[in-house]
Amino acid sequence: MTRYSLWSLLREGFRGHTGWGPVWREAEPKPAYDAVIIGGGGHGCATAYYLAKEHGLTNIAIVEKGWLGGGNAARNTTIIRSNYLYDASAAIYDHAMQLWKGLGRELNFNIMMSHRGVLNLAHDDNEMRQLKRRVEANRLNGVEAEWLDAKQVAEYCPIINMSPASRYPVIGATLQRSGGVNRHDAVVWAYARAAHELGVDIIQNCEVTGLKIEAGRITGLETSRGTIRTPKVASVVAGHTSVIGAMAGLRLPIESHPLQALVSEPIKPVNPCVVMSNAVHAYCSQSDKGELVIGAGIDAHLSYTQRGAFPVIEEEIAAVLELFPIFSRLKLMRHWGGIVDICPDASPIISKTPVKGFYLNGGWGTGGWKATPASGHALADLVARDEPNAIAAPYTLERFTTGKLVAEHGAAAVAH
C-alpha cells in the first residue's frame, strides 16, 4: 500500500496521477472465516479494522450487499458531537470524539475532519434550562461544552436570524467547539483500506440471505454468493437490523424510517459552524464545496425504500428559512433519503444475542455517524472477547426487558 504523504502527492502530480493504485482488492468469498461482519458501512468497516488491529483477528471478512459505504454512510450529514446527557452516552460518543481527533493520522487518510463547532439553539426558557442542564452534565463527564447567550451566538454565527420579533427567537445556545463535520466516504475508505492492509477480505455485492444456526450457536451464513462457515457473525446493517435479526429468530425494538437530507447550490462560505434547532426543527452546515447541507427529522412511516415524502421537505425548508432568512433565494441541488433504525430510547444496541456467536450492532437511528469509531471499537471488543466492555455494557438487548433504558434526550428530535 502506498503511504499517502506530501511527497506521494507531489510525485503523482508530476506523473499526471498515473501511479495511484487501488485502495483495496476485491475479494472472493472464502469457504470459512474466523468471523464475518455483515454490512460495509462506517460501523462495519471500523469493526473490521479494530478486530484486526487490536485483537489480531485477520482471517475475517466484511460482506456487503451493495457497494462499500453506499448505505447511510453515504447519505448522512456527518454531524459530529458528543454533548449527550447521560453517562452511558457521554462514554461512547466522547470516546468517538477522541478517536476522530487522531483518526486521519492513524489511518493515513484525509478524512477532512473539521472541528468547526456545533450550536444547539434554545428558543424558550424551558429549552434553555434543558440545554444548560446538558452543558453541566457534559462537564461532569469531562465532555467539552459551553453555554452562549444570544449576543455570543450572533458573534459565533452571524447569519442566524436573531430578531427578537421572530416566531421562535434565539435566546442562547450550547456550543461544542470540538464538534463539527467530516467526509463520509473518506472515513469508510480509510477504514476499509487499513483493514484490507491487515488482511481483512472486503466482499461487495454479497447479500446475506440467511444465518446458519445449530444448537443455539451460529455456524455460518447463506449469501447470494454461497455459504460461508464461521463461528462468529456481527450484524452491522443499520436500517436492515430487523431483517437480519429475523433470520436469527429475534424480535427487536427497532423501527426503520426514512430520513431525508438535501444540499443547496454551492455558495461562498457563510455558515462557519453546524447549527441545530430542535424547536424550529432543522439543522444546517456548509460543505467545503460551498453547498448548504440541510436536514431535519424522520418521516413518520416505516419504510425500506430510501425515499421520503415531500411534506417533510417542505417543513424542513420552512424551518431553515426561519433560522436563516438569507438563504431564501438559493436553489436546491440534490435531495435523498436513507433508512434509519430507531430504538425507542434513542440509544443503540451493541449486544450479544440469545444465539451464541451472533452479535448485534444497530439502532443508531438518526445519529450514529458521529459514533462510528467508538461503535466499531466496542463491537470489535465484544466479538473478540464475547464480553461487553464498560462502554458497550449499557447497550444490551436485555435493557428493554429490565427497563434499564438509556433514554437519551440529547439525541431527541432533530438533533442527530
Binding site: 430487523s242 427487536l252 423501527e255 416505516l302 425504500t305 426487558t401
Partner: protein, 118 residues
Amino acid sequence: MFRIRCPYCGERDQIEFGYGGEAHIARPREPEAISDAQWADYVFMRTNTKGLFAERWVHSAGCRRWFNALRDTATDRFVATYVIGEAPPLPVTQGADDGAPVEEDAEAAADLAGGGRP
C-alpha cells in the same frame, strides 16, 4: 408522496394523515399476569417487516378516524386499506411473540372506529 385511500372518505394526499405504526398489537388483558419478556414484547418489540406490512393510519385532517392499511414497505405501494376490527385482506405475520396474527377485540375496535362502515 403517498395517496392514501381512507376507507371512509376515499383517496387523499398523505399530508392529511397521521401514522400509527404497526397494526394488530393487542394490549395484554392481564398485564400483571405476564412475564417481563412478554411485556417487553408488547411495549418495545416490533416486527418492522420489509415487505407486506399491516399498519395504522389516522385521517387527522379529514374524518379523524383510525383505519388499517396493508403496504409493501420495500416499495411503499399500498395494497389495501381496511376498517379497524377487520382481519387484514391478505395474511401477514406480525404483532405477537409467536408470530401468529393477533385476534382483535371486534367490539372495542368497532367503538374505536366510531362504529361506522364505509
